[in-house]
Homo-oligomer: 452 residues x 2
C-alpha cells in the first residue's frame, strides 16, 4: 500500500491531455461534507481523476484524443467496495439453501468445496463473480478463499481492484490438504503476488478464531506485518463461535484476538454479529476494520449486527456480500438497502442508519477498511479513477428528490451502466469490455453440471 | 369475483386456434406439488392458458396466426401479485426518508398528500407505478388510496389486473375533504366501477382500526358484503396502534375487528406486525387474508411480523411492497428475498420460511388473499394467462441449481423480460407495449418539481 499525496502529482495544467471525460449527471462524490454536484464534469488522465466539479467551472478540454461518457440522467459516483467476498463461490450459488446451518456447511458446502474446487474451477468461478461485480457497480473487492492464485488471475484479468487473501484454516482445505502447510502456503502466496499488480493488494485470511489455533493466528499476523498487508478474519459470526471461544479461552473473540496481538489497523473483521460493547470499543481503539454482511447473516440466521451502535462509535466499517452460497448474489446496492432497513427495525428507530451512512460504508468506508481510502472510495482530484455511472432512466428511480436515497432505497445493481477502474472502462453502456460474459457463464454451467 | 371451473370451458380440441405460445424454458407453475417443467410449452388462447406441459407432450400448433415468445434460458412463471400497494405514491418516492415516524407522516407525507394529490397527479403516479410493476414482473395488484377513479383508469390503461379500493378514513383526506362523506364516496366508487372491467375488482380500504370509527368500519363492511368485494385494512402495523386499540376498546386490534363482524374471508389485513397468537388464530379460523409487507415495516421500523408462525398456521398470506414512500420501490423480487431472510434471522432458523413459501406468497397465495386464485396466481390449464418470463442470461443467475432459489435469492425485477396479463403482452423483450414510459416519467418529474 503506497502512501503519497496524489493530488500534488496530478494537478492539471491547461495543456495536459485528458483521456476520458464523464459529464452531465449528478456527482455523488462521497467526499465528507460535500453536497452532490449537479451537471458535473469529471476529467480523467490515465488512471486518476484530474478534475471534478460543476461543468460550469471545468471547461471541456480541447484535446481531441479523449473519449466522453454521457452521464446525463445519471449519477456519477465512486465504484462500490465489496469488503467481504468469497468470489469464486458463485460456483455454489443456489446449490444449498434453507437448510439448518450444520447440514448446509458440513453436508453441502464443505463436501462440494472438497470435491469440486480446483485451480480451474476457482478461476472460472472468480471470473463469474468479477462479471457480476462489474455489472452491479463494484470496482474493488476484498476476497478470502483457497486456490487464491486463481482469484488473483481472474481479478487481474477483469480489471477490478482487489485485496486478495489466501485462506488459512487448521483443517485440510482446498489446495491445502495438509494444514501444517497453511502458513507456509500463505507466505508463498504473498511472496508470489505482492508486487504483481498495483491494482491488487495481497493478504491473508484466517478463517476464524475457532478454526485457527493460537499459533496459526499469531504466525499469520506476523507474516502480514512483515509484508505490510491486511489480515482478514471471520469474527463472531455466530453465537456458537462466541461460546466456543469463551469456553476454550475464557474471553470473548475480539478480546481473544487482542490478547494474541492481532487487533490493529490492519485487521479486517467480517460479520461481527455478536460483538459486545467492550469488543467493539477494543476494535475501535485499535483502529481495526469491521465488515457488515447483513444478507448472509440473515440467510444463515446468524443474527443482526448492531450497526447503528457500531457506526455511532465511529468504527471503521465497510459492507460486504459474503459468498454467493449464502446471499445469493453480489449486488451491493441490495446490500445497502438491507443494511439500512435492518438497522432501523432492529433499533426501532426509522431515523437510525441513514442512507448516506450505508452508502459511505459501501464506498469510502469500505476503502478505509481495506487500507485503500487514499486511493479509492470517493471522487476526488488525484484519486484513482474508480467510478461508476448509474442510469436514472428506469421507472423505479423516478422521481428523484435525493440522489443518495435513490441509490440506497430504490436502485439495483442492474441500473449501473458504466464502470471505470484505474481509468480503464470495464463496462460501457452495460456492455462488458474486459471480460467475455457468455464464455465465462458457459464454463461455470459446465462445472455446475458436475456439482449437481 | 366469478366462480366456475374454467378448465371445463377451455379444454382444447386440435383444430382450435392458439394466439400465443411461450416455449423453451423451465416453467415454475406454482401448482401445489408440481415440480418445475423443463423445456416447457404454454399455449394461450385469448385470455387463458389452453395447455401447459413439457414441449414433448404438447405439439407445436399448426395454426399460422400465433405469436411465439422464446423462453429458452428463461423461467416461465405466474405473474407476481403485489397484495398491498398504494401505487400512486410513486410520486413521493424518496421524498422523505430516515425520519422519526411522526415527523415522516405528519410533517412530510400527510402535508404532501394534502397539497399535491389531485385526480391528475394520482393518475400520473399510478401510471408510473404500473410501469414499474410491469417491468418488475407484477401482473396483479391490490391498491388502496384516494382519488381511486384515477388508479382505476391507470391500471385499466396499463393492462394489469387489480383489486382497487377507495380509501376510507375518519379524517379529511385527499378528494374526501368531509369525512362524513367517506362511506358515501366509497359506495359511489363501487357503484361506478363494479362492472367496469373483468380485470378490475373493486373494494374498500379502511385506513386502520385506529383511524376509522366503529360505525365507519361496520358500514364499510356492510357495503363490501353488499357488493361482494374485499375489504382491505392496515392491521397492527405499529405497537402504538395496538396500544391505542387496547386502551380504547379493551381488546387487541384483530379481536376488535372480529367483534365488529369484519373478520371474514373477504377481509385483507395488511402488515400484521404485532398480531398475537390468538389474533392470528382468529384470522385463520375465519379465513381472512394477511399481507406481509416486510421492507416497509423495516424502513419505518414498525417491527417484524412472525412470518414463520403465520405460514405454519396455514393462514392465507400474500406479499406486498406498500407505497414507494416507505420502501422505495415496487420490486416484489426484492421483497421475496427480504421476506425469507428476515424470517430466518428472526427465528434463528436458516431452514425457516423457504424460498418456495415466499414465492407462493408472491403468486398463488397473494391471489388467494385477493379472492382471485381461481383465475390467477399459477400456471394451469383454464386459468387466466397472467404470465411472466424471467431471463436467465445475467451473471447473477448463473449457475442455476434450482429455479425457485434463483427467483427468490438471486433474481431482481430487472430480470423480467416478458409480461402477459389476460393473454395480452404488456412487455416483450423488456419493451413496454401498453404504456409510454418516457411520457409517464416526464409527467411525474414535472409534478415532483412542485412537490420539492
Amino acid at each position: 500500500m503506497e502512501s503519497h499525496d496524489p493530488g500534488l502529482q496530478y494537478g492539471r495544467t491547461p495543456e495536459e491531455p485528458v483521456n476520458l471525460i464523464i459529464q452531465g449527471g449528478t456527482a455523488v462524490t462521497m467526499v465528507p461534507g460535500q453536497q452532490p454536484i449537479r451537471n458535473a464534469r469529471v476529467l480523467i488522465k490515465k488512471d486518476r481523476i484530474m478534475e471534478i466539479g460543476p461543468s460550469s467551472e471545468i471547461p471541456f478540454p480541447k484535446s481531441s484524443s479523449m473519449e466522453t461518457i454521457d452521464a446525463e440522467s445519471a449519477i456519477i459516483m465512486p465504484g462500490l467496495v465489496n469488503a467481504h467476498a468469497h468470489t469464486a463461490m458463485t460456483l455454489f450459488r443456489g446449490f444449498a439453501d434453507d437448510l439448518p446451518l450444520k447440514e448446509w456447511l458440513f453436508e453441502k458446502i464443505f463436501p462440494a468445496e472438497a470435491n469440486f474446487l480446483s485451480p480451474e474451477t476457482v478461476y472460472r468461478g472468480a471470473l463469474l463473480g468479477c462479471v457480476e461485480m462489474i455489472r452491479s457497480g463494484t470496482t474493488c473487492l476484498a476476497d478470502g478463499y483457497f486456490f487464491q492464485d486463481q482469484t488473483v488471475r481472474a481479478v487481474h484479468a477483469s480489471g477490478l481492484r482487489g485485496l486478495l487473501a489466501q485462506g488459512i484454516i487448521d483443517f485440510p482445505a482446498p489446495g491445502v490438504p495438509d494444514p501444517k502447510q497453511n502458513i507456509h502456503m500463505g507466505k508463498d502466496f504473498l511472496e508470489k503476488w505482492h508486487h504483481f499488480s498495483h491494482r491488487i493488494t495481497t493478504g491473508l485470511f484466517c478463517h476464524s478464531p475457532a478454526t485457527c489455533s493460537k499459533k496459526t493466528l499469531r504466525r499469520s499476523h506476523e507474516i502480514c506485518r512483515e509484508y505490510d498487508v491486511p489480515l482478514q478474519i471471520h469474527l463472531s459470526e455466530t453465537e456458537m463461535e462466541v461460546a466456543e471461544i469463551l469456553r476454550a479461552h475464557g474471553t470473548r473473540p475480539a478480546h481473544y484476538l487482542d490478547q494474541l496481538g492481532l487487533v490493529d489497523s490492519h485487521l479486517i473483521a467480517a460479520h461481527g454479529v455478536h460483538l459486545d460493547k467492550s469488543e467493539l470499543k477494543c476494535l475501535h481503539e485499535k483502529d481495526a476494520g469491521l465488515v457488515h454482511v447483513p444478507e448472509s447473516n440473515m440467510k444463515l440466521s446468524s443474527g443482526i449486527a448492531p450497526l447503528e451502535e457500531i457506526t455511532a462509535m465511529g468504527l471503521k466499517t465497510g459492507l460486504g456480500t459474503d459468498g454467493s452460497a449464502s446471499n445469493n448474489n453480489l449486488d451491493l446496492f441490495g446490500e445497502m438497502d438491507t443494511a439500512a432497513k435492518l438497522s432501523k427495525v432492529l433499533t426501532r428507530r426509522p431515523d437510525a442508519t441513514k442512507a448516506y451512512q450505508v452508502l459511505n460504508m459501501a464506498t469510502l468506508g469500505g476503502a478505509a477498511v481495506l487500507g485503500l481510502d487514499k486511493e479509492t472510495g470517493s471522487l476526488e482530484k488525484g484519486k484513482k479513477a474508480d467510478i461508476i455511472v448509474v442510469d436514472l432512466k428506469s421507472p423505479h428511480l423516478c422521481p428523484m428528490f435525493d440522489p443518495v436515497s435513490a441509490l440506497v432505497y430504490s436502485a439495483g445493481g442492474s441500473d449501473v451502466k458504466d464502470v471505470i477502474v484505474d481509468g480503464v472502462s470495464l463496462m460501457r453502456e452495460k456492455e462488458l469490455w474486459s471480460l467475455d460474459q457468455d464464455e465465462i457463464m458457459a464454463a461455470v454451467r459446465e462445472i455446475a453440471k458436475k456439482i449437481r
